[in-house]
Subunit: 468 residues, 2 copies
Amino acid sequence: MPHGEYCASRIRGLSVRDIRFPTSLQSDGSDAIHPDPDYSCAYVVLFTDTNFKGHGLAFTIGRGTELVVAAVKSLSHLVVGKKLDDIYDDFAATWRSLTSESQLRWVGPEKGVIHLAVAALVNALWDLWARVQHKPLWKLLVDMEPEELVSTIDFRYIEDVLSREEAITMLEEMKPGKEGREERMIKRGYPAYTTSAGWLGYSQEKIEGLLKENLSRGWRHFKIKVGQDLEDDKRRCKIVRDIIGQDNTMMVDANQKWGVDEAVAWMKELAPYKPLWIEEPTSPDDVLGHATIAKALEPLGIGVASGEMCQNRVMFKQMFQAGALRYCQIDACRTGGVNEVLAIYLMAKKFKVPVCPHAGGVGLCEMVQHLQMWDYISVSGTTKERIIEYVDHLSQHFKTPIKVHNCHYLAPKVPGYSVEMWERSLQAYEYPYGSEWNKMFAEGTFKDPRATPPPWVEHRQDGDITHR
Amino acid sequence: MPHGEYCASRIRGLSVRDIRFPTSLQSDGSDAIHPDPDYSCAYVVLFTDTNFKGHGLAFTIGRGTELVVAAVKSLSHLVVGKKLDDIYDDFAATWRSLTSESQLRWVGPEKGVIHLAVAALVNALWDLWARVQHKPLWKLLVDMEPEELVSTIDFRYIEDVLSREEAITMLEEMKPGKEGREERMIKRGYPAYTTSAGWLGYSQEKIEGLLKENLSRGWRHFKIKVGQDLEDDKRRCKIVRDIIGQDNTMMVDANQKWGVDEAVAWMKELAPYKPLWIEEPTSPDDVLGHATIAKALEPLGIGVASGEMCQNRVMFKQMFQAGALRYCQIDACRTGGVNEVLAIYLMAKKFKVPVCPHAGGVGLCEMVQHLQMWDYISVSGTTKERIIEYVDHLSQHFKTPIKVHNCHYLAPKVPGYSVEMWERSLQAYEYPYGSEWNKMFAEGTFKDPRATPPPWVEHRQDGDITHR
């Protein structure tokens, strides 16, 4: 593939910043396991020796962002100094160099902190590539020849269910009708559902108000959080069902609160309210547990949905093999960025599992719309049983925020992956240096971490340690 | 349980240091996936307001240690300031407070960097507890009443295969004969096998020499690394089998090199050399893949062994449920320290899978001996099909190193978990400040990371960014 006029340029450097929004103040995003998230991200900018930059992020929820930032720094030597040609000519090899660095992989491999850092870096590489090509990411993906697209994927550990050749064939088979689907996508956009009304920390009044408002705006799918208290869940499910009626759809989300048996028992109690799916019923690591729950709930018409914490393609592979997922909720930055997400979409297609991406957070809506539109045009060819999560928080911080019209995501037109944030937002919310944080520290809304000595002592500086 | 005379004391502070040994210079520890490990650890010391300290570590292999160190700092506020009584009176709750911190869990949960940091902290808490009780850790565990021991375990996500009550009953049932087993353990020690001869980077001469030397010293089990080149593996397996004969045991270890089908095909080629087990044939995340390999190799008499990278009890649970492991290789600091390892031993017992701990590295031999001796005395009651890995590197840096006599680990007598290192070793090998590192930097053996500017730019300090 021609890399455009700037093919000879190099990554000259990168910056990575710890950006946190104080969402815990309004209980935005609160659920049974995460009562107080401060929606955050490790925000990466790649600088080249031309005017092009690449922007990427990994979503986090406050504390711990500093670790992803540190991991990006630890990985940065694998990207900085590289020629763009060398990166994109064998993107699968580039990806593997990041996920399989011979020493760093020990603290993963391909999971948790280090994989979130890979996601931020890799997403920035894709943003850069799309910008160089003057295309929004979805269009870059759609226009790639099957062989080229598949060449970005590392098939290690998934070849037993999906070979490179099979993936290419899948994409070849979907070529007919692509243009028509692209036109339809540009015209209508991609259907969405809303989680804005469903956070656990919200009052009954707030929930009712938001539901009615959303109904009147045309929303037909509503997701609420469950898992903290069964009686309260019943009460809230009833409110939702009463307000939205029988013809609209309710989904529930337990955010990993339950053990396997508990999940089945609890959901039997909520079955009368007819949820379409139960999301994250148990540990994201428990493939067999998800399969057990799926089997038990199928007769009740409740599907199992999961994926936002599913750590990599190897776990998704098993989820598919075990029949554990009725809905696959890929995340744009939990697994290792676009390359790995493409592999998961292709496996989902093979196992006939519809993908309904996890979104919300910081920048997730902005990213997953590209992936899901590519899925419609090039992979699944349908929006049947597929829908993108929509949460309307924090999009004001993005230069090209999502546009949702008539409950559909409209196809992005601007080159890139849509995750570039305003410099004024970055300067306000960089933790703990940003102007907004300093204001909140001064007001006492949050404690300034720099105001007291840390709980650890720096051994080497002291000779004999100073105790506190 | 009485916590001893110092029950009212508090954790006053902690230090955590990045300790790295330049083992890559001799190819010690080299395998098909990790060609150049520098055996390292994040080393934690807990300080109390009495004379007692707690020492713990998480083993790493060089780069990436800085991330585990950072994660220990991020978690330290959950430990520092706490009373020992409050920690140990409900150790399962303390453990959960570390693994489920409402924001930090997002960058895990319970896996990778953050879980390695939990392991280092939790291991230090157990070392401290054992010291306060004036007992080596194995003896502390052995002397605990079943109910008390089980109270340290967080059963979340494993209750579907093992309940608290079942765990207590298991331990109660093993009470008869405990004293005799303890006596035998003190007298004979625990059987070991050696990996010292088997690293991929070693020359044929070095392998042959080490094998002969080890045979003459009484060793009967030998493990070698495979997976890089089939013909070379055959050649090396033949050398080993020729030297050790048919009556001794050979194990092979692929360190995750293969896909599922490849693992089966490769091991069929090595079957004539009669390896007892194939260790880590594929991704540590692939439960179903391990099960497929196990089923295919069973008729050939080759068992599947894995565990050193198995991230937590939820993954081990599934490995057992799926019949994926013939041998369970627990690691002392990959999962969240002693509390979680106890849960894994109890599940292994239930599923009748023998535990053969992963050791070597830094301090792993020192730690796992305690766990395995507890298993013999209180859980399995047997050493049949069980054996501890033994690698004789780096033990000189520990104050109370393992003692191996007649190819058996001798029961530690000194209070604690045996992981305290000499201050002179810490000062020599702290990275990058230690005296040995400074010497190697000066000699040009390694590059001083401080000698060149880092690949990233600090955005906020510069206003406009300085490119390199």
